[in-house]
Structure formats: C-alpha cells, structure tokens
C-alpha cells in the first residue's frame, strides 16, 4: 500500500469521552494519514459520530490527546480548526442563495469581492453545480444540497474534510453515484477525507482504510481487503459482509500452523496468519459465501470438497444464494453463485458437492 509512506495527519492518543456516566469513547488510539480516504464504520451508538465531532471540535474530550497536523487540538475551538464538515442534514442555510452558502466561510477572507465570487464559481464547478449560484438553497434536490455542502466545506481548503453519513439521506442509485463522485473528488483535491458510515459496503467501496468501531472502541483498523478477508474477530467478520461460522476443535498448534477439525469440513491445516489472537471464545472457523462453490456435474476441482444438501434457494437475479447442510451434519452454510449461462438454478433438496479452499478460512477462538 502506498499510503504507508504518507505522513500522519491526525493522531489519537488514548481518547476518552464521557457523557455523564456514559462512556462513549473508550481509549481511542490510531493515526489517519494525510491524503487518505478514511472511514469510521460501526453500528449506531458505537461512538463513530462522537469521534468525528471531537475532531471537528464540536465535542470536548474527557481525556487523551487529538493531534491534527502535529498540533494538539485541546485548546483550539471548532472555528479555528483546519477541518470542515459535511453534515448529515447538509445544514444548508435556508435563507441564503447557493452562492451565499458556498461563500459563507469566505466572509473574513481579505480577498476582493470579485476574487471571492470566482472562488465560489470554481467550487461550484468542481462539485458539478456550475451556474447554480443564484438559486435559492431550499429549491435544491437532496443530491444537489449535498454538493453545495461539499463545495462550502472545500472552498476553505481544509486539511481534513469530515463527512457525517453524507449519503444516508439519498436513494440507492444516487448514493452509489455519489460514492464514486466522492472518491474522484478526494483524489482530485488530495485532502484527507474522514467518512462516518454504518454502511459496510459504502466503507469498503470508498475507503483507503477503515476503523471498525464497537461500543466506543476501535475493533480493527485496516484496509478494506484485510478487513474483509482477515477480520480479527467474529464481531468484525459478522459486521462486514456475511460470514459462515462453523464450530471446530483445535487439534494441534505449532509455531506457524494450526490444525483444526471443523464440523462438516473435516481436518484443516491453517496458516498462523489465518488465526487472529485468541479471545477465549468457543473456536469457530469463518468462511465467506463466495469462497464456497457448488460443483456442477462434469466439473472437477483440485480444492477440497464436501457433500451437502440444498436447504434454501434465494434468487437475486445476478446471484443465487444457497443454504446448504454440510456432510450430513446440522451445520448450514450460505454460499453464493453467480448466475451465468449454462448454470441452472438448483432446487431445494438437491444433493450437491461443495468445494472450498483452506486458505479462505479464518479461525476465531
């Protein structure tokens, strides 16, 4: 990853936040690099929005340190921080025109009126709203409001742009469209983007790195692929996408190898990288649905195979999900098959052969 070479933009050192007795942030540590598209991902109430608001300066922290660009933010108020925010509600000022909204942050800018007007026009053009400056802010659609909010925040050339669930109010099509636009915009301006979202798909699509948060703590901080393929806990694995969990027993463990006996799959040798640190839970192996494949008649494989019976068929158009009982056990796994020509959708009750690769497994214990 090239991001490894980038300098640190934000650093959290043991950040705690209490609301009365409620412990909202429980020792946040980590760094966000300059020019990175970083996401804070987690279920509602996990503290991700609180963390974003402490960066913006809207919330004080109870203890710990937040550094932005090497400077301690403890005594820096929100209006003096090198951050700007795109709010969940967009917070477009309803009594102002689009241009007045976008130029709001330039009020104390010493530049001349004409130069400011040019800056506003450029910002509007950057977000694809060229010529919208004279419109009333309330006459805009949801997507347009969001663009105005983006232009308003970016015109000040902040070091960090904070985005609080910016896409949650848009419909699905518009959301997917804006995801791509935001990625492009981030590459174009090169500013550090920090996105708060509860949508794991959105985080995977958009981010260079993701911090998954549960109950005021960062559970895992990694790039999307690592998060998806090598989640460090069952909880993270369950939150990001779908994962089958199969009970297993640990047979033996050497320095670089763990051998497990998984119900329905049999004995499997795992690399130590496939076994994140133990948490004292009952051991299970995890498998993503797309790492399991149905073997159609006439097909052969060099991977491991297991017999099964189809229990449920869920048709999605481009994909079909099958719930399959493995090898005469009560272990049921979900697997996904792309619907390509010559591959009919199978029926419930069909006996099938399921193939899988030991390298796709993750051991949680």
């Amino acid at each position: 990853m090239t991001t490894d070479e980038k300098p640190t933009m934000i650093e959290f050192k043991d950040v705690h936040k209490y609301y009365g007795d409620y412990h909202a942030l429980r020792g946040i540590n980590g760094t966000i690099r300059a020019g990175e598209f970083f996401s804070l991902l987690g279920p509602s109430g996990c503290g991700k929005t609180t963390l974003l608001r402490t960066i913006a300066g809207f919330e004080d922290i109870s203890s710990g340190v937040i550094m932005i660009d090497g400077k301690d933010m403890a005594s820096v108020p929100a209006n003096a921080r090198p951050t700007n925010m795109v709010f969940q509600s967009y917070a477009i000022f309803p009594h102002m025109s689009v241009a007045e909204n976008v130029g709001f942050g330039l009020r104390k800018d010493p530049r001349s009126k004409e130069e400011k007007a040019r800056a506003v026009a450029e910002a509007l053009e950057m977000v694809g709203l060229k010529g919208y400056g004279g419109r009333a802010a309330h006459a805009l659609s949801g997507g347009q409001r969001q663009r105005v909010a983006l232009a308003r925040a970016l015109i000040l050339k902040p070091k960090v742009l904070l985005l609080d669930e910016p896409l949650s109010a848009l419909d699905k099509k518009m959301r997917e469209h804006m995801q791509i636009e935001l990625i492009k915009l981030q590459r174009q301006v090169g500013i550090t983007f920090i996105l708060v979202t509860h949508d794991q798909e959105e985080a995977l699509v958009m981010s260079d790195r993701i911090a998954v948060m549960f109950e005021g703590e960062i559970a895992q901080l990694a790039d999307p692929e690592t998060l998806y393929r090598r989640p460090n806990s069952k909880k993270v694995a369950d939150f990001i996408g779908t994962m089958n969990f199969i009970p297993c027993e640990i047979v033996s463990e050497t320095g670089d190898k763990v051998t497990v006996d998984a119900k329905g799959l049999g004995r499997v040798d795992l690399d130590v990288a496939q076994a994140p640190p133990a948490r004292g839970e009952a051991p299970v192996v995890g498998l993503r649905p797309e790492t399991l494949t149905l073997l159609y008649p006439g097909q052969t494989t060099s991977e491991r195979t297991t017999e099964g019976v189809i229990d449920e068929v869920i048709y999605f158009g481009d994909m079909t999900y099958y719930d399959v009982y493995l090898g005469g056990t009560d272990v049921e796994v979900r697997l996904s098959m792309r619907n390509v020509p010559g591959r009919p959708v199978l029926e419930v009750g069909t006996k099938v052969e399921v193939t899988w690769s030991p390298s796709a497994l993750v051991l949680f214990r």
């Binding site: 929100a78 951050t83 925010m85 917070a91 000022f93 309803p94 009020r107 309330h138």
Partner: protein, 269 residues
C-alpha cells in the same frame, strides 16, 4: 349542507355570534343618532370628529401605545433569552424556572395585579406608566416564550455548528444564522404581546392610578350614553387597524416561509 347539517348550522351560528357584534361597530359609528338602536337614522361623520377633538382620548391613546410598544419589545427580548436558553442549553433547575416563567399564563391576572400593587405601594414606588409596563411584561412574557420556543425548536442545530465550522464565532453565528431564521417567530411574538398589552384592562387599572390608558378610558366613557357612538367609531378604527396589522404580519410570515422553503402549516389568514 348535504352532510351533518347540524354541525354546519352550529358553525355558522357560532361565527355569527363571534363577528356580528363587531360588524355592528361600523354601522352605528356612521349612524346619525345618539341612540344605538335600529332603525338607522342616516349617515354622519360626527362621531369621528368628536373623537379627534377629544384631548383625553389622545392622551390615553398615546399612553397605550407607549405601554404596548415597551411591553411587546421587552417581553419579546426576554422571550428570546428564555426560549433560546430552554431549547439550546442544559442547566440545573431549568424545569422549575421555566414553569415559573410560564405560570402567569394560568394565574388569574387579578391576583398578579393585586399582589404587585401591594408590593409596589409598600416599597413606596409611585404608580406610573412604568409600573403598568412592569406588570404587563409579567403576563406577556409567557406568550412570547411559548411562541419563540417553537421558533427556536424548529431550528436545526447543525446549522449553527456549520457556521462555527466555517469560522464564525457564537455571536456572529447568532446574528447571521439564528436571528434571521427565527425572525418570523420574533415578529409573531411582537404582534401578539402588543395586542395583549394594548387591550389589557386589569393591570392597567390597578397599577396606573390616574394615568388613563385606552382600555380604561373606553370603559369609563360607556357610563355616558352620549359618548357611546363615539366609542363605536373608535372601535371601528381599531378593527381596521387590527386587520391591517394582521395582514402585514401574514405577509411577512408567508414571505419568510417562501424564502426558507418551508411548508405552510397555516397562519392567521
């Protein structure tokens, strides 16, 4: 009238009961007779002339306007503080304090007036327009608080945060964002407290010994039958004035809604 004829009849009767007496005002104000009774006697402007010649009336009107302007300004400013504080900040004892501010809404005005009179007299404070203003602010502030609280409540908190985020201070945010957006509420509060003060009788009577205000003056004039038509003429002027005021208020309210793109949820007109 096809459905629920009883309800419709009731509605019409009710509206007639409300407005028919007011419609009688202009009719008798232009009637050329000292006796307020049908049949009408002919058209005259005599009562209006009498009105404009009445020195005492003009003093009372001036006093009433001074009081109403002061009361509406003061109670609206106090209302802004109380509403802002109750919507935006958390502080100890907020519930009881706000409860006490709103209490005069249900407290019989008579009691407030008597209590104030006793206190003012025992403190040796001269009764004047100022004491009337004090008393009326007490009863008008709850209305201002109620109106302004809903105005402040409909304000999205993140608008203020966005303004701070874009470099503004608390003070400039209040001036640039909060104030323009609650302005319709401020206007409404001003108008309603002005109206309440303008026709307030009990406190004006108790706390304003010797200082005539319009409501007290009109009441006094009704003792003289000959003065009644002139008072009806005065009433006519006040009705026209109220309608104009209401129309202006409604115009600003609608313009405010149109400018901010809100939904019109019904106003006065």
């Amino acid at each position: 009238m096809s459905k629920a004829p009883i309800l419709k009849t009731f509605t019409l009767l009710y509206l007639a009961f409300l407005y028919a007496p007011i419609l009688l005002l202009p009719i008798f104000a232009f009637n050329d007779s000292k006796v307020v009774a049908f049949p009408l006697q002919g058209l005259t402007l005599q009562w209006f002339r009498e009105l404009f010649a009445d020195q005492n009336l003009q003093i009372a009107l001036k006093n009433s306007l001074i009081i109403a302007l002061s009361v509406s300004t003061l109670s609206t400013i106090l209302g802004i503080f109380a509403a802002r504080s109750s919507v935006r900040y958390k502080w100890k004892g907020k519930g009881p304090v706000l409860g006490l501010i709103m209490l005069p809404l249900v407290l019989p005005e008579m009691i407030a007036a008597m209590a104030l009179l006793v206190v003012l007299l025992s403190l040796g404070i001269q009764l004047s327009l100022f004491t009337i203003i004090l008393g009326q602010v007490l009863i008008c502030t709850p209305f201002a608080v109620a109106i302004l609280t809903s105005a402040f409540q409909s304000l999205d908190r993140s608008l203020e945060e966005a303004s701070m985020d874009l470099g503004e201070t608390q003070m400039s945010t209040f001036r640039l964002i909060v104030l323009p957006l609650v302005m319709p509420g401020i206007l409404a509060s001003f108008l309603i407290t002005f109206t309440i003060s303008f026709d307030e009788f009990i406190i004006a009577n108790f706390l304003g010994s010797g200082k005539p205000v319009l409501s007290v003056y009109i009441f006094g004039q009704f003792r003289f039958p000959a003065k009644v038509p002139a008072m009806l003429a005065l009433g006519t002027i006040l009705v026209v004035f109220s309608i104009c005021l209401l129309a202006i208020a409604e115009y600003f309210r609608r313009r405010g809604i149109a400018r901010t793109g809100g939904k019109d949820s019904g106003g006065f007109l």
